[in-house]
Each structure stands twice: as structure tokens, then as C-alpha cells.
Symmetry: C2
């Protein structure tokens, strides 16, 4: 029962074997650290992104539940080691030293990991995950960590945007267009974290205890000699769950056939829950269908819309006066069609020699100031106005004093500053793993609990920050001392002096 | 050792449990077919797409190796059945009938599946996969089939485009930005099928026997006190595999440090394989680096470029005269950034009652002629000119006579016709499963064999059909008789007559 990515046969989640789910260079660098005697050097890495996805005003953190699984299941099996031992170096000989593979055989993680809880609103340049521990271990986690947090944060954010636009239950049903089976499972979970009411993905429902839902397909109608017979049979078999898809042949005729069946159901003491329209001019057809249903007395029959929807088409359909009881959203959500990747990065920010108390900040410089990384061991203070709305976030070094006035400075623009000192705040990073083992509770891993955090987090944002287009940007700055330390380090590394 | 999606601990691939990897409505419809006594009705479904991805001229079929796995592993476990048995219907009561779940417990697939081999060039409106068998079984496979064939065909096609542009080895290293762990594994495999030389994804390398490759990261350089020391240490540890990343602090200084190490390696009888540039103006920096390396006598040191590349940026960099020995392509390939989903569909095309010999064609009509489905049990003839280049494809019904002149008609435009009768042809669909069990050989499941088919298939296309922008469209048409049968069926279903 070992080894799987995202699927499970038994009630218990299996032990996962993620150690090889990494870029080859992480393993060759690991051998490098081993060969350089850097095994006891400690490092601190942070995962953060530089731009909010979908040109939006916020992102919804997600993926750290899978990260906890990855950490708990991290080990190299004999089979993994045999595979690595067989790899050739391009220039001749074997790529890996057998003594290094022996080291990997006995390797057990000892890192500490802190992360913002799933469902937390996150913004550019703030650490979402912090990993501290032996530098080699930090790097061996990098690729898998980025894979799960980037992807799931992206999808949870997309789902939140779609749900903000819909203002009615949204069912995610993107499995057939999702990027692979494993990807689809975590995409379905992230959709729930972001606010969706249900998913069509049965395996995801089972694995993550998510609400599942569905109607029927065009093929059901095509499998009968005529549409009315297909509808009647469906209503007979599923009287408690009857939503009829009306656009297999002709939407108007389909609506009339659904009304016939809806009245027959009513006469039999049942209820037609709804009709679904999956093609055509959805805004016009939804209004037309509502009129026809109401005229027939089926005012309690809902209308479900689907067909390549996203937050923008949903907003447009609602603006045109369609009354929609629920929405089905597939492709555009499950693969985040308009931006299918979040560019989150994982950067070394500090190192510490064995026996040292103090950390040494590390920085990667670049031609563009916006691409500077952040030095130190960091956390985030989230400041809150008296009315409960968020005022701004401060990225600060946990080992340095924080200026008393609570001054934050935009990472790329010293002229943009804010003083938050008199407001109350909370810090964002919470323990995820200690000494290489996850410390998350079942509640902290639950998708539906994370969805509650998402809902509460959206409440704390101003409407202008939640706009789909051109949102007001949420203030995130570096603690004043951190800003200046970083500027000095950058100019030192570039070999010039005195800029700041 | 049961149950996993894409990962495996042992040498043997585990039995996969994919039955729940489906939309809920497939299972409720299955219960419907069971309740309607349609268990013995046979159906024929085809998977096809309507538009070539990336506005390109071709697609590379991929995903049927995973489909074969899904079919072989298809079963409902006791745990799956317990989960389904616990689901509530929205209107009250349980969603599934216990007697139906008993039926699922004993269900073994008996479908026949035919598919084009992986690495085959495919075009709009032609069947890539054909499934025939009991209608319920055909539908229970739909979602998972679409998931794997849509996604992997998309990525293999993207990889082929990138490799056409690169004309040098391409390493896929998109794992950190791929859509989930499971998705990344099949994406890496599909990248190899499409033509990539290697992947950074070690787990994918192990699972699918793919070439793996990698260099080192910026963090390696940052973990030392200075870049030159970091380079020297890397060269000492990996003298047979030394590619140095030169842009951690300053690219020009990085190149000089790499040259220093390259000359030291030469003096020691080793060779600096290459340098990698991962930021900045890649076209300019590659030319600059080539000059500096040549001036230092390191003419055998290659240049590797990476940083958000796709086929268009690669073509532009090459057009500016950069001499690049290999390319690293991540995000834009692994999630097919500019079109992250292929809209392939799976449509019912024929049904047959128990005991019948003949199939009855089925059609879904739509307001748009282009969205008509295809009726019948179909295959594709691929016609070839005397010089080996492809002339065009005919979609035909295997149970109907094919017109002797080999006339094909554009599915959406009767005025576009072609006569191919005098050319030689081959048919595309090949057996993938018989009576519910895969019949693919190990060679037919191999990614590297599929890559050879991709290379051969690209050779058969005209250059104009492989252009990245505005390619010449490849002729695909319906066999003349099929075209007219479909038109008659459509007008009958719409209730009008005599259009054709």
C-alpha cells in the first residue's frame, strides 16, 4: 500500500513516496553539498510570488496540506536508489557516488516548515511558506513544494474569483480538461477551498471529503429514441435529483419537454429540481427559460448554466438579468485557462554555520530591483483596522527589531511608505512541520475548513480590492529596517556603494 | 501495492484504481442505464477535437498509454462502493441503489478500444480513440479518457512545436510550474513523445524510462561566499557533467568566472560542458558569451539558454544569430501556457440493440454546422503522395462502402472537396484493448518509440503545414457517403427536410 500521488485504495491515506518528484539538479546539488561537507550548514528558504494572478487583487493560499503529506512521506526507497545509481553522467561514468546514495538511504528530514494556513489571503512578495534546516534538505523539497503550492494557490484563487462573480453555488467539473489525473484531484480540492460548492470529480470527493454533484450528459438523451422519453426515464429513476439537460437537439423544444416532465413530476408529488443549458446564448436562453418555466407554474425549477464559463462571462450573464440558481464551471477553472501557472519562487534568504546562533542574510540581485529577493528569516504581520478590514501587511525579519512606528516600505519603491504601528495585527506563518514531521491537525488539513477561512478572508478585504478588473492594490511592504538592510546588501553585491 | 495515479514504488507498475476518476454524472447515468435495462445495448463513441491547438497545423497524439493502464486497472473496490453508497441525493434519500452498487462490484469491462498510436500526427474532426461496447461502460471511461488524451496530446504537440523551433536538444524542466504532481509526470512523458531530448523530472524518468538532465541552481552559487568558489567546487565534484549557471549576480562577471574555471578544468584534463544563462536579453548575452568563450579558447563549451521560453521566443533568439547548444523549457511547455487545454470531446456516434448486426448512427445537432458530431463506426484513411508526403485524410464508416474515387468533403463546407482515390493509404486506428483488456505491447507503450513516430510523422508533413504561424491547413474530409448521410440525419433531427 505504499506510494501514490493523490489516489488511495483504502480508507487510510497511504504513505507517499515523493522524494524523486524533483528536478535532477536538486539531487546533483545535494551530492555537491555532501561532497563539500555542507551537510550541517543550515539555510532558510521562502516561497513567494511577485504578481497576483489573473490581474486580480488577491490570491488564496492553498497546497500546504499536500506539502505536509509530502514531508511525512519523504524517503528514498531501495528502488529509487537503484534507479539513481544507474544514471550515467553525460561525460562518462556514473552520475551519483554510491557513498552519497548510501547517505540518501538513511536520510530523514529534520526541517522546520512554517506556512500560512490554506484559505488565507496572500499578496505579492510575502512568504507563503518558510523552510529552515540543512541546506540540502531545503533544496530537496523545493520542486515538489513549488509544484503543489503554485498550482493549488492558482486554482483556489481562480475559484474565489468565479464564486465572487457567481453569487450562487458553483460546481467545478473540469476533470475532462484538467491537466492530468493527479492534477485534477488537487484542482478539485483547491476549487472547494476557493469557494466552490461542489465538484463532479468523484475520486476527489472521496479522497478529500468534498461535496460532489452532477446532472446528465447529452449522450443520455441520444441513447433514447426521443428527448421526451429520455427525460421521463431520468425523472423516473432520479426523482430526488432531477436536473434535465435541454440542449441536445433544440433548446426551446428541450425546455418544453422539460416542462412536460416537470408537470408530470409535480402531479406525482415529486419536483423537477432544474434544467441545465450548456450551449447557445446563455443570457438570453436563461431569461427565456425562466419565463417559460414560470408561465407553466414551475417557479421552483432552477436554471443551471454551463459552457466554457469563467468569472467574466458569469458577471456578464448576471448583468444581463439572467436569474441563475447554480453554475457549472469546468475548463476555465480547472486549468486556470487565462493564466495556467503561478510564478511562485523559492529563494534562499539566509544561511547559518553549524553552532552559530545568528543567521547571515543572502540575496540574489538582478538588473531589475523588482526581482531582488528578500534576506533574512521572515514572517508577515497583518494589520487590521478597527472595523475589521485589513490595513496592510508588513514583511519582517523575526530575528531583528521591528521599528516602533510600524513603517512599511514598498519593496521596489522607497517613496511608497505606510505607518501601521497603532493598529492591531496578527502574524501569518504557522507551524506546518517540526523536525521533519508534519504538525497539522486533521482540521488544518480539511478543505471545507479552509473554505471557511477563504470566506472570512474575503470579508476582510475592501470591495475595491476584490474587483475582477483593475482592483485597488493591497498594501504590502517591507519593515523599514529590512528594506534598508536589503538595499545595502544589494549595492555591496553589485560592487557599488552608498546608493542607500 | 494497489492504487496510484502515476507513481510507483516497486519495479512493477501497480494495479491502478481509476474507476472513481470520473464525473459523478457518469455514475448516475450508469445507474440510469442499469435501471432502464439498457445494459446490453451497445454504443460506439469517438474522441476527437475540433481545432488544432496553438493555432498550429498539426497535433501529436498522446495519452493512450495511460488509457491502456486505466482500462486494465478499472474496477470498483469495496471502499469505492462504500463511498458511493454513502452519498445522499440532494432531494433526500441515498443517491445510489444498493443493487446497482452490487452490479458495479462485479463489473468487468468488455469494451473494444481502438486508437491512433502515440506520436501520430492528428487533425481536427478525425477520431483519435474509438470505444465500442455496452453503453454504460463506454460512458464510465469517458472522463478519464478525455483527461489523459486531451492533456497529453496538448503537451506532446507543444513539445513538437518547441523542438521544431529549437533545432537543438530541448530539456523539459517545468515540474515546479506544472499543474500538480501527477500532471507533471505525464507532461514530462508527453514532452519526450513530442521530441524533447530529456526532462528534469526524476520520478517521470524512473517511471517511464525517460532521459533525465539538469545543471545547478542559483542557490548553489548563493550557498558559497563567492561565485568563483561555487563554480570551482561544482567543477571539482562534477567534472563529467559541468554546466555553470552564470547569472546569479552579474552575467558578464559570471561568464568570466566560468571561463576561469573552464581553463582550470582544461589544464586538469577535463572539460567545461557549458554555461547556462537564465535571465536578461538572452539573444544578446548568448552572442556575447560565445565571443568571450571563443576568445578564451573554450570553443567546445556550449551555451544553454532558459527563462520562460516557448517556440516563438526560441525562434526569435535563433533569428538574431545566437548559437545555442541546448535549451531548457519549463512553464510554457509543461502547462501549455498559451492554450492550457485541448477541447477534445467524446461523442456517441452509433448504437446497436442486443443481437443486432447493424449499427444505427447517432448525431448531436447544434445551431452551428461546425459543431455537428459524426455518425457511425469510424476510422481514418491517410493518403500518401508518391514522394512520401501526406496528401490528406478521409474519415469513413467501417461498415459502409467507401466511394471508389476517394472523394473527401470538408465536414463544414460541401464546396471543399478532394479526390484521393489513386493514392496509396494506410488506416490510422489500431487495437488498444479487446474485451476490456489492453493489447498494447511494451514497445507500443514506450515514450521513446512514440518519439520516433513523431519524428517520422513530422517528416511526412510539408514545411508549410509545420509553420508556427498561419500554417497551411492539412486536408481532412468525410468520405462522400458519410458526409451526405450525416447531412440527411441532421435535417431529419431538426425537423426540416430536403436541405441536402
Amino acid at each position: 500500500m505504499e506510494s501514490s500521488i493523490g489516489a488511495t485504495e483504502g480508507q487510510e491515506r497511504p504513505t507517499l513516496a515523493y522524494a524523486l518528484l524533483t528536478d535532477l539538479y536538486q539531487l546533483t546539488m545535494a551530492q555537491g553539498y555532501w561532497a563539500c561537507d555542507k551537510l550541517d550548514e543550515e539555510a532558510c528558504f521562502h516561497m513567494f510570488f511577485r504578481e497576483t494572478p489573473f490581474k486580480g487583487g488577491f490570491a488564496v493560499a492553498c497546497g500546504t496540506s499536500q506539502l505536509a503529506e509530502m514531508i511525512d512521506g519523504f524517503h528514498f526507497s531501495e528502488d529509487d536508489l537503484a534507479y539513481l545509481g544507474g544514471l550515467d553522467a553525460p561525460g562518462g561514468g556514473k552520475l551519483f557516488d554510491p557513498a552519497f546514495l548510501d547517505y540518501l538511504r538513511d536520510l530523514r528530514l529534520s526541517v522546520d516548515v512554517d506556512a500560512v494556513p490554506e484559505g488565507t489571503m496572500v499578496f505579492p512578495m510575502e512568504p507563503i511558506v518558510r523552510v529552515t534546516g540543512p541546506i540540502m534538505q531545503c533544496q530537496l523539497l523545493e520542486t515538489a513544494l513549488l509544484n503543489c503550492v503554485n498550482f493549488q494557490t492558482l486554482i483556489a484563487t481562480k475559484a474565489a474569483r468565479v464564486c465572487l462573480a457567481a453569487q450562487a453555488p458553483v460546481a467545478e467539473f473540469g476533470l475532462r480538461r484538467a491537466q492530468g489525473a493527479g492534477g485534477s484531484l488537487w484542482a478539485s480540492r483547491a476549487s472547494i477551498v476557493g469557494g466552490c460548492a461542489s465538484t463532479s470529480n468523484v475520486m476527489a470527493g472521496k479522497m478529500f471529503d468534498l461535496p460532489v454533484s452532477g446532472t446528465h450528459a447529452h449522450s443520455w438523451v441520444m441513447a433514447f429514441d426521443d428527448e421526451l422519453t429520455a427525460f421521463r426515464e431520468y425523472a423516473r429513476i432520479f426523482p430526488k435529483n432531477c436536473v434535465l439537460l435541454v440542449d441536445t437537439y433544440d433548446v426551446k423544444q428541450g425546455i418544453e419537454n422539460a416542462i412536460t416532465v416537470g408537470l408530470e413530476m409535480r402531479a406525482a408529488g415529486e419536483r423537477l429540481s432544474g434544467i441545465r443549458i450548456d450551449s447557445g446564448d446563455l443570457a438570453w436562453l436563461a431569461r427565456y427559460a425562466r419565463e417559460r418555466l414560470d408561465a407553466a407554474g414551475l417557479t421552483d425549477c432552477g436554471i443551471v448554466l454551463s459552457n466554457d464559463l469563467d468569472e467574466h462571462t458569469i458577471a456578464s450573464i448576471r448583468a444581463q438579468g439572467a436569474q441563475v440558481s447554480s453554475w457549472g464551471v469546468g475548463t476555465k477553472l480547472a486549468c486556470a485557462y487565462d493564466q495556467p501557472s503561478l510564478g511562485g519562487v523559492y529563494k534562499l534568504s539566509a544561511t547559518r554555520m553549524p553552532g552559530d546562533e545568528r543567521w547571515t542574510g543572502r540575496l540574489k540581485v538582478s538588473e531589475q530591483s523588482a526581482k531582488l529577493t528578500l534576506p533574512g528569516v521572515l514572517d508577515v504581520r497583518r494589520y487590521v483596522w478597527g472595523d475589521g478590514k485589513l490595513a496592510g501587511d508588513m514583511v519582517f525579519d523575526v530575528n531583528e527589531p521591528v521599528n516602533a512606528e510600524g513603517v512599511i516600505i514598498d519593496p521596489a519603491d522607497i517613496l511608497r511608505q505606510k505607518r501601521l504601528g497603532e493598529l492591531s495585527y496578527r502574524t501569518l506563518l504557522a507551524p506546518l512541520a517540526r523536525d521533519g514531521a508534519s504538525v497539522l491537525s486533521a482540521e488544518e488539513r480539511s478543505a471545507t475548513s479552509a473554505r471557511e477561512r477563504t470566506m472570512a478572508g474575503l470579508e476582510e478585504l475592501d470591495e475595491s480590492q476584490k474587483r475582477l478588473l483593475n482592483p485597488h492594490s493591497y498594501p504590502v511592504g517591507l519593515e523599514e529596517g529590512l528594506w534598508h538592510r536589503r538595499a545595502r546588501m544589494a549595492s555591496d553585491l553589485r560592487g557599488c556603494r552608498g546608493v542607500v
